[in-house]
């Protein structure tokens, strides 16, 4: 029996997700407490696909170190310069023997969809998306792809390519330019057919606030599991996962789905609302409420704070009475104005003084907010001091 191989592209930084990709590539951003690429590997493994090649580049040591912990024959190839997806795939060419799956390492895909596309050679997994212009837009005809355009200004349909392809080894002969989409277009040009398989569930994060949606999706299937020490006066309801060594203080209310890592200290008298992921070694001081948020490792949020609809990078320290609220706004991302609605996206190692207010703002890595600041719809660059 011939074994299907898989190539995962995890070389890109993910510039539009800055500042969160300063210290990690997009595929390594933890969502529901696991790097996104881990969900991709799991989905492949659930389909019996174990021969996996990962293309790394940006912060490659970090990805390689993470991949080493798997009990799988994962092979790593390096793309020295991030010139595009097709260029990344070319780096894996010597490792590929026959049919293979191509997947981005920074999207969530459900295992069932992989199972379906794995059975069809020369196919692309597609899905409708309300904002197709950020993706490769496909035009379909009786279940086959007629044309594909990468990030068009005016999208001809809402059907987009998930970037997940089932391909034969001869696909490499079509690679001319640096993008997969160009190679697919070249392949269609020669009269070769590409089937379109509809994905059941797929989540990409284009902008950092999209991570909250992905987080919500990945927490949906959470199984309750408690370890650590929980006060008998705490109320834990719904699917809640609490890691080893974590202490939940009295009168804390946790409403699932919520995942909390190892060695955290939460409460007393805290409120953790649904769709929240909290990493390891996080401290949440008394009388703080957190909801619909993604809090990474080693963060401290002091007492009387409110943090909602937010992503918070590692090692942040936020003094008391931090208040985050959600408003709509327009932010400049990579030179383009983008509409959004969220609380705060905060990079790694940010410090804030007491009574900091954040509304629809992106705060860079290593930023210091001295306190009593009110940050509204702004992007604060890495390393700034706000007085």
């Amino acid at each position: 029996m011939k074994r299907l191989q898989a190539v995962i592209l995890a070389a890109g930084e993910g510039k539009r997700v800055r500042p969160l990709t300063w210290s990690r590539p997009k595929a390594m951003i933890p969502v529901a407490n696991h790097p996104i690429i881990e969900y991709v590997i799991d989905a492949l493994r659930k389909n019996g696909i174990r021969d996996i090649i990962v293309v790394v580049g940006y912060r490659k040591e970090q990805v390689t170190r993470f991949l080493n912990q798997f009990d799988l024959p994962l092979r790593v190839v390096v793309q020295e310069k991030q010139l595009g997806t097709a260029h990344a795939l070319l780096q894996a060419e010597p490792e590929i023997r026959g049919d293979f799956l191509l997947l981005p390492g920074d999207n969530y895909i459900d295992p069932h969809s992989i199972g379906r596309i794995a059975r069809v050679p020369d196919a692309v997994l597609v899905k409708e998306h309300p904002n197709p212009s950020n993706f490769g837009v496909v035009l379909l005809d009786e279940g086959e792809v007629r044309s594909i355009v990468e990030k068009p200004e005016h999208a001809p349909s809402f059907m987009v390519s998930t970037g997940i392809y089932s391909l034969k080894k001869d696909f490499f002969t079509f690679i001319g330019a640096n993008d997969i989409t160009d190679a697919v277009a070249a392949m269609l040009g020669t009269g070769r057919r590409i089937r379109a398989v509809t994905a059941d569930d797929w989540q990409d994060a284009i902008y950092p606030w999209d991570l909250l949606k992905m987080n919500r999706r990945l927490l949906a299937g959470l199984l309750a599991a408690q370890e650590g020490l929980t006060s008998r006066h705490a109320t834990v309801q719904g699917p809640v996962r609490i890691g080893k060594g974590t202490t939940i203080g009295p009168h804390t209310v946790i409403t699932g789905p919520v995942i909390i890592g190892n060695d955290c200290t939460i409460g007393p008298n805290c409120c953790i609302l649904p769709n929240t992921s909290i990493g390891s070694r996080v401290t949440i001081e008394p009388l703080t409420m957190i909801g619909n948020a993604l809090v990474m490792d080693d963060v401290t949020i002091c007492s009387n704070s409110r943090v909602v609809d937010s992503v918070i990078g590692e090692r942040g320290h936020f003094a008391d009475h931090m208040s985050v609220s959600t408003i709509k706004g327009i932010l400049e991302i990579e030179g383009n104005p983008v509409r959004s609605e969220f609380g705060a996206i905060i990079g790694d190692n940010v410090k804030s003084g007491p009574f900091t207010l954040c509304r629809n703002c992106i705060i860079g890595n290593n930023v210091i907010l001295e306190g009593t600041n009110d940050v509204i719809s702004r992007v604060i660059p890495d390393g700034s001091v706000v007085i």
């Binding site: 019996g48 696909i49 174990r50 199984l223 599991a225 408690q226 370890e227 020490l229 008998r232 080893k244």
Partner: protein, 399 residues
């Protein structure tokens, strides 16, 4: 003839019960699962055994030793990494001399069936029927020859399954050597069997009775099945005013105190203190050195050694590890209000009545309520009045 028993796996689905013992050492009717299998094979005339051991090797060796206690010769073939059933067979090559029997260590099979298998021409595979064939290898048979074998197919073509007992010749070693890593990342015996099937060489033998233990709740069925064949025995002390109905087995130095009512089948180990006024219903097995005290009701449960359930407790349809202590008034629920099948950690048990799975050394304060389908890891601790629901890891604490 040698009998090879595959007993190296942990049995991950049996967690947390396998924290301190491998799956095959889980007790049924107060004996390890593996002992029942070995005794059935002995009764069919086998005296030489090779155990493939790995996870929990020490526990198996400590219990069985060289087998002289049972009049048997037991050899051990360690499999250092659990790389699959084909790999397990590779490790016994130097122990077998001719045609040999191979059995999975986690099933219940009758000695008459083993005797019938021994009379077959090798290679031969035992089959059985089940109402959930999607969890097993499904077998197609024509004229007692196996024609196809499909592993865990989501749409099984029949209810006939591979029971995991075989009669092989030495040729099987050549076949298992050629097995490649499967998509699950294991060396699977199925791949070697498929070579035999392709050559129309594999005979099929249908078993009259068979039971495998895949999930913790299967232990309850296997326990009651094995207890059905018990005969009443009393090696302990039964005080006046005790009522025993059905088959009740009482071990040495065990005292059953006045006012206790036991409805068999029930087996109680050695050095236990039962009652006064305990109510024990079938089919319940209680390990050695347990204390079942005043006003405690037990029903259809497995209680492992050294566990104390001393005052005002109720435990039904549950599996309780060893060395646990139940505070006064702590109870286990075993029925949902909507009478729907109980789910454990997202898995349907297909049982309307199921209580909890409790690991070893768990301590409950007084008046804890343990809801249906709860799983508690070893050495967890719970404050008085805790409401316990869902899954608790090892050393989880409610204080």
């Amino acid at each position: 003839m040698e009998c090879v028993v595959l007993a190296a796996g942990e049995g991950k689905r049996m967690r947390p019960l396998t924290a301190r013992r491998p799956k095959v050492m889980l007790p049924l009717a107060n004996r390890p699962m593996l002992e029942h299998l070995v005794l059935a094979a002995r009764d069919a005339g086998i005296t030489d055994f090779v155990f493939v051991v790995g996870y929990g090797e020490r526990e198996i060796r400590r219990h069985f030793g060289n087998g002289s206690q049972w009049g048997l010769h037991i050899f051990y073939a360690p499999q250092r990494q659990q790389l699959g059933t084909a790999d397990a067979l590779r490790s016994v090559r130097d122990f077998v001399t001719g045609p040999f029997l191979t059995m999975n260590g986690d099933m219940i099979i009758q000695n008459q069936d083993i005797a019938r298998l021994l009379a077959q021409t090798p290679p031969c595979m035992c089959t059985s029927t089940t109402d959930h064939p999607q969890d097993y290898g499904v077998v197609m048979v024509e004229n007692d020859i196996v024609t196809a074998l499909e592993e865990k197919s989501p749409h099984p073509r029949s209810t006939l399954i591979n029971a995991g007992a075989y009669l092989f010749t030495l040729e099987i070693f050549n076949l298992v050597d050629r097995v490649q890593l499967s998509s699950r990342g294991e060396f699977e015996l199925t791949d070697a069997l498929n070579v035999l099937i392709a050559g129309h060489q594999l005979q099929a033998l249908h078993l009259s009775a068979w039971m495998d233990v895949g999930n913790p709740w299967d232990l309850l069925d296997a326990n009651s099945t094995l207890m059905a064949s018990l005969l009443p025995e009393n090696h302990g002390t039964v005080e006046q005013g005790v009522i025993l109905t059905g088959t009740v087995v009482i071990g040495q130095n065990t005292v059953v105190k006045s006012g206790t009512y036991i409805e068999g089948p029930c087996i109680i180990g050695e050095n236990c203190r039962i009652g006064p006024h305990a109510y024990i219903r079938g089919a319940t097995s209680i390990g050695d050195n347990c204390h079942i005290g005043h006003c405690t009701e037990l029903k259809n449960s497995i209680i492992m050694a050294k566990t104390k359930i001393p005052h005002f407790n109720y435990i039904g349809d549950s599996i309780i590890g060893s060395g646990c202590n139940f505070g006064a008034g702590t109870k286990v629920a075993n029925l949902r209000h909507d009478h729907a099948p109980v789910r454990v950690g997202g898995t349907d048990t297909r049982r309307i009545k199921f209580g909890a799975i409790i690991g070893d050394g768990v301590q409950f304060g007084i008046n804890c309520s343990i809801n249906v389908g709860s799983v508690v890891g070893s050495n967890a601790m719970f404050a008085p009045n805790s409401s316990i629901e869902g899954w608790y890891g090892e050393n989880a604490t409610i204080r």
